[in-house]
Symmetry: D3
Subunit: 253 residues, 6 copies
């Protein structure tokens, strides 16, 4: 049996609170079990130098944990004077994932800054960040629509993420919490769109390996879980979900 009596294919309780802080164009607090992440999307009216004159926008993400988001206190990266490899990997992943579903050609030369700050960590912080960041970004575009800067949501599809893995007993499971994650043989993060296309697959065996069959089982678990998360995003987005629906219909016509 899993911790907290969860079934192999069972997600933890997920909540998505919109409008969490007042300054950002889009602000979300996402909780996945005991993992809590503030996802803020900010809009800047220019792009980085390498994109100037392209007529296109850009999305960049930053990720951080409060020092005591974890069981043991971590040294603050600003104090160390450099960002760890793990942090860089995660923020590159978040940014790249979001760029797969945002139509950057439709937002003009603007940068969307996405800040994911982990308040409390219990496994799955990077996938919670992606799921929450998507909602924050849509909210930020909603703000741009209210301000009449754009008149359509530049969103091609929903974007959701979760983790799957193989426990020491050989069982494949969905949405690992920290206690499971720390002992897992295989750890895999999956980012998908609302209609089931892959955006990212990152599977890793730390001092272990996995078979093709195990891979398939994990992908199936992820696939099911991610549909549930899309439903929660729709609910959180309210009226804005209808705008995404319109875009999806357009794409599929």
């Amino acid at each position: 049996m899993r911790v907290n009596d969860r079934k192999e294919n069972q997600l933890r309780t997920i909540t998505i609170e919109t409008g969490y802080t007042k300054h950002p164009e889009g602000s979300v607090l996402i909780t996945v079990g005991d993992t809590k992440v503030i996802c803020n999307a900010s809009i800047e009216d220019r792009v980085p130098p390498f994109m100037r004159g392209s007529g296109k926008g850009w999305i960049t993400a930053e990720y951080s944990m409060l020092p005591r988001a974890t069981e043991q206190r971590n040294i603050r990266e600003s104090s160390k004077g450099k960002v760890s490899g793990r942090t860089m990997e995660i923020q590159r992943l978040i940014g790249r994932s979001l760029r797969a579903v945002v139509d950057l050609g439709k937002i003009g030369e603007r940068t969307i800054w996405v800040d994911c700050d982990v308040i409390q960590a219990d496994g799955g912080t990077r996938t919670a960040s992606i799921t929450g960041a998507f909602v924050a970004v849509v909210l930020a575009f909603g703000t741009l629509m209210e301000r009449k800067v754009i008149n359509r949501l530049p969103i091609k599809d929903y974007l959701v993420a979760t983790s799957v893995g193989v426990l020491p007993n050989g069982k494949e499971v969905l949405d690992l919490q920290y206690e499971e994650d720390a002992k897992a043989q295989v750890d895999m993060n999956i980012v998908m769109t609302g209609n089931g296309q892959f955006v990212e697959i990152q599977g890793t065996g730390e001092e272990a390996t996995f078979s093709y069959l195990q891979l398939q089982t994990m992908l199936d678990l992820a696939s099911q879980g991610l549909q549930e998360i899309v439903a929660l995003q729709k609910e959180a987005l309210g009226e804005l979900a209808n705008h995404i629906e319109v875009n999806l219909l357009g794409e599929n016509r």
Copy 2:
């Protein structure tokens, strides 16, 4: 008249939520109007090299703002690779203030790490941090008492902080919110103990000066406001407030 119809000597609404996150020995969310700060106190069972062998403990504080805690997004200090002068000033102030009321000789060779992370900023973040950090530190010592590591609260008195200032119209006011702070001629932060002793006074005229009389008026405003905040701390601390009371009686006997 002040913003939001506040009177000169009127504090903003202050709330102190204890047990805000699960990992730290002491965790608090303090809100002062729209300013929101997470204050976490962590206990480490050793002291920095310069204190080893002294038999005494140490308190050190770190302060940070989420990039979009403010109206405009700030560059993350971990990305810049260095901590700003402003941040250093604030974290030195928080640590020094706490050391004035904690009996470091009673906690053994332990370090109390205090992390103040501003989620949303609307003026007064450093004083809110001090007020919240005091509660988090007391909670952390409460945890040490539960674990039978210490058997008395090593706290000499309450510690509270607020700002006072002079508005462009020449009026002295208590607890400036951002809109007031940005235009103030004089900005002063006062840290006091529960029985009205000063711990820190930092008064600054940016491109302006102030008279002895103005100083006195500001100190009076601060003095009154700080008594109200002590009452809120007592309420938040519940049972632990009684332990502080015992210490205070002991001191005054």
Copy 3:
């Protein structure tokens, strides 16, 4: 048709030169088409602090490109004073992959430092680094055997890596060279063991997505290509390949 008339499932020419420089315990020059990487393995007789007293060894990898390994000159990371996110990701990947096939419990408290320095880049530098680094690490253990420090190769299986991807025309292909990689919709790096287990899968759609079917086709291409690369590693390792064979027989008995 692909660049240079390659077929979808055709690797570029790969060569592995052992004993490339004289100082390291294991030294390899690997070429994959026009990509050239020096892989050196160095042995240090101690482990990082977090592993001391564990009785186990550690493997860590560093990756770098000469500034003019690429078409445009890159600024040297030592001049910038920090290592890029891309570099960190790659060196974490190399180290993690090697740890999956090395029996760290059999090498005592030693660190294997693996340095992958790209002399010339034409796509696939990270996977060439892993393939070459494996050979360099086995050579370094061979040196330890000659020095009678260990008496068996602490190697569980071969380790090989390659890239697969989806070209703009929708075709899945094996082993992308730079010209293909720069335009690909999907880019996937696969690290496998000699007996076909996955060690790492990292698939990414930059501003694009991919289907389950495309994933399967790419995994098949990788699987075939990687068996060819194992054969080249065996040849390069000469006598040491027999020692690995012995270990594999032992594992499968």
Copy 4:
């Protein structure tokens, strides 16, 4: 009794040597007892980016100590690669104080760089720096007047600074030297204008607190001492003091 038989309200011997080095527009060596600081003011014909187009000037200060200015040698901040929190606090204080008495609107888009380098330290280096820096800045404006760049001194009033504190015996004293400062219960730095207005008050109890009465006594001591220092500045400035007098008369008319 105090060290060196000083009375509570007695300053150490102060000298201000103008024209100390030949390159800066204004150069001063100030000695306060055994504390010696070189204060140089340099003029640059542009302002930092955040002030461009404002038509106003800017003043910024840097502070440093020679490694062996102190009893024990300190590591050079350039070797450590970062500036300490203490240094940042001091240089922000110096810059802010000077901006309170310089009429930045009258100097065009110019930056005044003030460098305070402590040659020998014996307590009170930051207040000596402010007192000396004021003279260096006036000299630099004198140079601008000679060069016919400006035709009036853009100085609103004198600027002086000193420290006061509470010794372990509970006595309030003026101008602490290092031996006193190291043991003081309370340390307070006061920056004032020539006509007795406050520019900065920074009072700190390190592991101690102070009462309202003690505060008043310290402010009185500072007030008297600062008038003596103004007299020394006047003497050092010679003819330029008359220009300040003219401005003061203008202000008070």
Copy 5:
């Protein structure tokens, strides 16, 4: 006798391989005994800010060693986050030396970036770098001539470098390998032009000194050795050597 039975005035075997990697405008692998350095010259169509508008070009050099180029592995400078004093000295020396023979006024506002990366070190890496870098730079200008960007080689003379020193037995020798260099009393690097003019002399006694007579002997040894190296450069440059010959005739007419 010297290591490897070399005579006092005998160089190690030197080879210069041109066109070593494909991307740079000029690429060379130079070997001096067991010392191996890749020298790449890259051309950028602009100059650093301090030279803009001058109509002249610039040459800058960077030097690095692979971590395991040496007997003991060195920490990568990019990991340390800063470049060592030794590296800085060497790259300043290479750049300065090249600027003495390149006619910067004839190349327009272009920067020549010279990268010297030591693959294997056995003493004399900085002088091998200079000798190899000169060839790489001429090759790069050859590329500019092919591209019709310039129509003459902007080269005033050959540039060669070697080391001389005094062994513990008091003998002056040419071209020290590592084993000799590590024990030498005096270490001297000489950079000369093809016609025997000095460009740089850097002679150092580490915990030792040397006489005028020893200096003369060392200069003589260097002078002879350097002529041999010029011959090897001519051979490596092939047709381009004729262009240099033309320039030399022009200069001497």
Copy 6:
């Protein structure tokens, strides 16, 4: 004619003031014309890790310029967060030179920290630093003798330095001041012992070269000038000069 009517072989006026600041074990202010350098020698009772257990001492030097020591203000290296290549070269040169005349085997495991801080620069700051640093180091050893830590001066000979160069008119000259140095074709720094042995020769042609004959003339000029400087050091050292004399007699017996 030279600037200030100096003859080719004429030094600027040199003064050496001992006991310049009170804290260091040895403290000197040296002036060479308008160049002014504070040289402080500090003694620490331990050596760097690489020398522990050797029974020998170590000397290390640091060099810095006040930002406005020069005509144009330089950015402080502590603000830039890194030390320039020029600074590193100079501090390595100073340390290496001093180690040539100090008998490190006679001082136990102690480190002599030498700080050379340029207060005012007018050419020749590095050679003035060496000349002054030698005196400061001898003074520091004098302090150790007074404290009965050592009973003999561990000094093998005097150490002096100066610059020579070739002016644009082709004339070789001694002791270049800034105005000459900035235009010189060749710039050479010579460090010698009291009895005329070379410690360091660093000759450089920036975009120029020099002949063997020019080298000889420059060495002669340096040789004469350095004897005059030795005489000034003797005078500054007073009684301590006799101790050096004793050592020199011992060496030459």
